[in-house]
Amino acid sequence: MENFAYASPATLQEALGLLSTKPGEVQPLAGGTDLISMMKEHLVTPRLIVNIKQIKELGGITSGKYGVRIGSMVTFDDLMENALLRKSLPSLVEAARGVASPQIRNMGTVGGDLCQRPRCWYFRQGYGVLAMDNNKALVPDGENRYHAILNNNGPAFFVSPSSLGPALVALGATVRVVSASGSRDIAADKFFVTPLNESMREVAIQPNELVSEIHVPIGTRNATYEVRHKTALDWPLATASVALKMNGSTVTSARVVLGHVAPTPFEATAADKVLAGKGITEEVATQAAKQALMDATPLSQNAYKVQLARVAIKRALLEAVKG
């Protein structure tokens, strides 16, 4: 790790004043579960680390008229323990529950989850987020078992690592980002972007901005289903998060979003169409899952993820309408 300066401002304004418009120069520190390992591997070498965990404005879970406000420094563990979320937003709670281990869930934050960098092993070994070596894309002919099966026609092949992203997109959440000059709201589905070159990030925030809070509407039946190889301390192979507006037992509108299958959370609009106007049965869920993956283009090793994504959708849908 390179040497760096460290600041721990008490207020949000103070913290924002320390950020830089130059990419990588100043890094905000939340739980640090990703940042510290990136620094150890010299994948980022910030001049200044700004600890934002103690900033009060960035904390707290509160409910308002249209939904729930979640501060960006809320931890996974906070999400899991919150009674309001457990009742209204089980998809978010379940997504948090799947994260790594109790230690990581105690430290990792909502903001950090959204802004963490991909787990692609080529990226982590220093080949960049697009995994190139001397103009050769390493993923298509390489070890791509964990890579994207959708929106993977290049140059990006990694999968979005966010655990909460699919649920937030499905729920129609809004991400508020702030900078010294003000704040702006970004719809969760616009927050995640696919980089086209190495200078682009995977999220739509500028280096001098922070995620301050998330606004999540309530009033849907929602659920997340994660396919994970190990029972703990493992990344999902595929995740599905669904949010259903219901009239009785009939779906009036649906949002089905997949995680860990594309460079961003993948909105399976083909599934949404299948579900509208129907009740959720195993047959309907299976049909929606099938449609959702019609356009999948698996790489040489990851055809199995198509099936995993399908089963995640089916099981999330059945879970959403259970009980």
């Binding site: 092993w121 080949y127 390493l138 964990y146 190990k230 990344w235 090793q301 199995y304 099936q307 995993l308």
Partner: protein
């Protein structure tokens, strides 16, 4: 000649008892200190620069910028310009510095220019190996062609593969070395306390007698920690260059996985023929494997069922630009068991035969039919085989399918060469001195039990000193030979010491020494227990002279105290979610023959550990190499996946504790239960889902590919 034989089974007070490991408290509380815990005020931190390339020639190495860093005390080039590097992770240079951070900075300041050369890092597709594959020649017995062509023969053919696994000890390889003018102190993480100093001495051309080795605890070895290793030698030089200050160098996790040693892969095309009644008539295997640039890894095929009448075997070793092979808990056996038992299970499925019956039918071609027969019965009973087994793929109708599978193991064991000293002091205290090591298997506890049993004392009355090379030497802990060696040497030294004590007190009691024995803290007449004296009183008769007696085990002459050659049967009960390909362990049964069991609780622990290791290999563990860059993609504990507590299921161990096995003496247990786990689980999965998954680990990728008929 004193009688060293073990006391009869029904007359043991300490041996054979389920005593908890004596160092459990120290280990679980953190009081136990490991080489990686070593700290002293003047300690320096050592670090390696390793090659990022799989195959390259060193053009130049410039150490100047590293040397000029403040806090750096030594910088050494390990490789030289012109050297050819044959794997990623190969040692290039080493530094020592006053802090870990400075050492890291120094490593980054070393400038190395490489000329990158073509590499081969994958061996699964033998056709791509070209001249890198070296065939070992064909072995033929009988007339396999005729046997396969027999009109009545039922023939199966299959491809099976098991990948390279890397060592991944919780405590990585490494050591602390302090090389001063007057001598060298070594604090290693080693399976070889008595021998590692000599190994280091040879490399340093320094007198072995001036090297002191100390190690109380080790955080895992599993066959990978016998030698001083290149990094040990480098640590010594770094210390010497730093004015004799101690230097700690432990491998980084990534280096641990790349150069800490690995288990060779095993791939094979196998063909087996049997009569309709299940009698195996012919075997044919074309196998290949890699163990790094030196090739390596020749699984003994067919495994256990060695006397099949007609056989043809060929094997190729593939030289890859990957880190080197090291012993890994039963070298070559897990691969051989997996390859053989998979093929036999496929044969049973084709014959529509219960594989337990198929194994039973063919035990006569194994070396220990009676043992296996009894074990098959016992294991079947424990896993409720008859109730739970079904024909392949004919299980539950839902998406989650349950299946059972079995596997077989064999191993040598025996007792390594070991010397022990038993000291009886006039105050009645007892000290055992032995230059062995407890690699986590419970050696401390076992030695203490043997001494206590022999001297008629409780375990708490025996003080054990071990873990340094000034003590009577004992062999390295490998090949499951430790318990046989140390139990025998301890028995002998303790019998010898006791006899000295009896010789002292016999005249006082007015009897002959042969009429006395030590039991329950007393010295008493064998045929008249009322005539006795306390242990303390007896020892007081020594005056000011302590008793110090040696005992030795000779590996080639165990004198009935230890033995070798065991067998075991293992069975797995799994559930497979056929929609996700995820395999869940329900139960795992391990039935093992181990001779005389000194401590059944520790023996059970050994089996549990071995089974957990096997579950990792069966379900998730695999070295992933990138063909293009030549690099290992998962040298970490994120994607080099190991099972967690939730992935393991229930483990049921059964030790064959019977008079017949007991009378063979003590036999090691570290390796045998690690052998059949992958095979049993792979067979259970095939039984559950109805198709063979040809390639382990049994990840969703491989399981779903098999279910969907894809080539994984």
């Amino acid at each position: 000649m004193p009688d060293y034989s073990w006391p009869p089974m029904n007359d043991r007070r300490v041996i054979g008892k389920r005593i908890s490991r004596l160092d459990g408290g120290a280990k679980s509380s953190g009081r136990a200190k490991y080489a990686s815990d070593f700290y002293r005020k003047d300690l320096l931190f050592g670090m390696l620069l390793t090659s990022p390339h799989a195959h390259a020639k060193i053009v130049s190495i410039n150490l100047d910028d590293a040397k000029s860093l403040k806090g750096v005390t030594a910088v050494r080039a390990i490789a030289a310009p012109g050297d050819e590097i044959q794997w990623e992770g190969a040692e290039i240079a080493a530094v020592a510095a006053t802090s870990e951070e400075i050492a890291r900075d120094a490593i980054r300041n070393i400038k190395v220019e490489y000329q990158v050369l073509p590499h081969l890092v994958k061996e699964e597709d033998l056709s791509k190996a070209g001249p890198r594959a070296k065939a070992a020649g064909e072995q033929v017995t009988g007339d396999p062609d005729k046997a396969f062509q027999d009109a009545d023969a039922v023939v199966v053919e299959g491809f099976y593969g098991i990948p390279v696994l890397t060592h991944c000890c919780l405590e990585s390889h490494g050591n602390v070395v302090e090389w001063r003018q007057d001598g060298l102190n070594l604090w290693p993480s080693t399976q070889n306390v008595s021998g590692i100093g000599g190994d280091l001495a040879t490399s340093l051309k320094y007198p072995a007698g001036k090297i002191k080795v100390e190690m109380d605890y080790i955080g895992g070895g599993f066959g990978s920690k016998f030698a001083a290793d290149r990094w040990g030698v480098e640590t010594a030089y770094l210390s010497q260059m730093s004015g004799g200050r101690p230097v700690k160098l432990m491998l980084e996790r990534r280096d641990e996985l790349m150069i800490g040693g690995n288990r060779p892969s095993g791939f094979a095309k196998i063909k087996v023929a049997a009569k309709k009644d299940g009698t195996i008539t012919a075997w044919q295997s074309e196998s290949w494997a890699t163990g790094g640039i030196g090739g390596g890894g020749s699984p003994p095929l067919p495994y256990v069922f060695t006397e099949i009448p007609n056989k043809r075997m060929s094997h190729s070793a593939v030289a890859t630009n990957t880190g080197g092979v090291r012993a890994w808990r039963a070298p070559n056996h897990p691969q051989a068991s997996y390859l053989t038992c998979s093929a036999l299970e496929d044969l049973a499925a084709k014959l529509k035969m219960d594989p337990v019956d198929l194994f039973m039918k063919n035990l006569e071609v194994t070396a220990r039919a009676d043992t296996y027969r009894a074990q098959l019965v016992k294991a079947s009973e424990l896993i409720e085989w008859k109730k739970n087994w079904h024909q392949r793929g004919e299980g539950d109708p839902g998406p989650v399918k349950r299946g059972l599978g079995l596997a077989i193991n064999t191993w040598g064991g025996g007792g390594h060469t070991s010397q022990c000293r038993t000291i009886i002091n006039p105050d009645g205290s007892v000290q055992i001195e032995i230059g062995s090591q407890d690699v986590g298997s419970g050696t401390r506890t076992v030695i203490t039990q043997v001494a206590a049993e022999t001297l008629g004392l409780p375990v708490g009355s025996v003080q054990l000193v071990m873990g340094n090379n000034s003590l009577p030497p004992s062999g390295p802990s490998g090949g499951s030979t430790t318990v046989g060696g140390v139990s025998s040497s301890t028995r002998k030294s303790s019998v010898n010491a006791l006899n000295k004590l009896l010789e002292t007190v016999a005249p006082v009691m007015g009897v002959q020494p042969e009429q006395l024995k030590a039991v329950d803290g007393r010295i008493q007449m064998k045929d008249n227990p009322s005539k006795s004296m306390t242990w303390q009183a007896a020892c007081a008769k020594l005056g000011t002279n302590k008793i110090s007696e040696m005992g030795a085990n000779d590996q080639r002459k165990p004198e009935g105290l230890n033995s070798s050659g065991v067998g075991g049967i293992q069975m797995a009960d799994v559930s497979v979610d056929t929609e996700t390909g995820i395999v869940k362990m329900n139960r795992f049964v391990a039935v093992q023959d181990v001779g005389l069991v000194v401590n059944p609780k520790l023996a059970d622990s050994q089996i549990h550990g071995a089974v957990i290791m096997g579950i990792c290999g069966a379900l998730m563990e695999e070295r992933v190499m990138d063909a293009y860059t030549g690099r290992m993609l998962n040298p970490d504990m994120e994607f080099y996946k190991l099972a967690g507590i939730g992935d393991i299921g229930e483990i049921i161990s059964h030790l064959d504790i019977t008079p017949e096995h007991d009378k063979r003496g003590v036999i090691g247990l570290g390796e045998p239960p690690a052998i059949g786990v992958v095979a049993a689980i792979a067979n259970a999965v095939a039984n559950a889902i109805g198709v063979r998954v040809p390639r382990v680990p049994l990840t969703p990728m491989h399981v779903l590919a098999a279910l969907e008929g894809r080539n994984a």
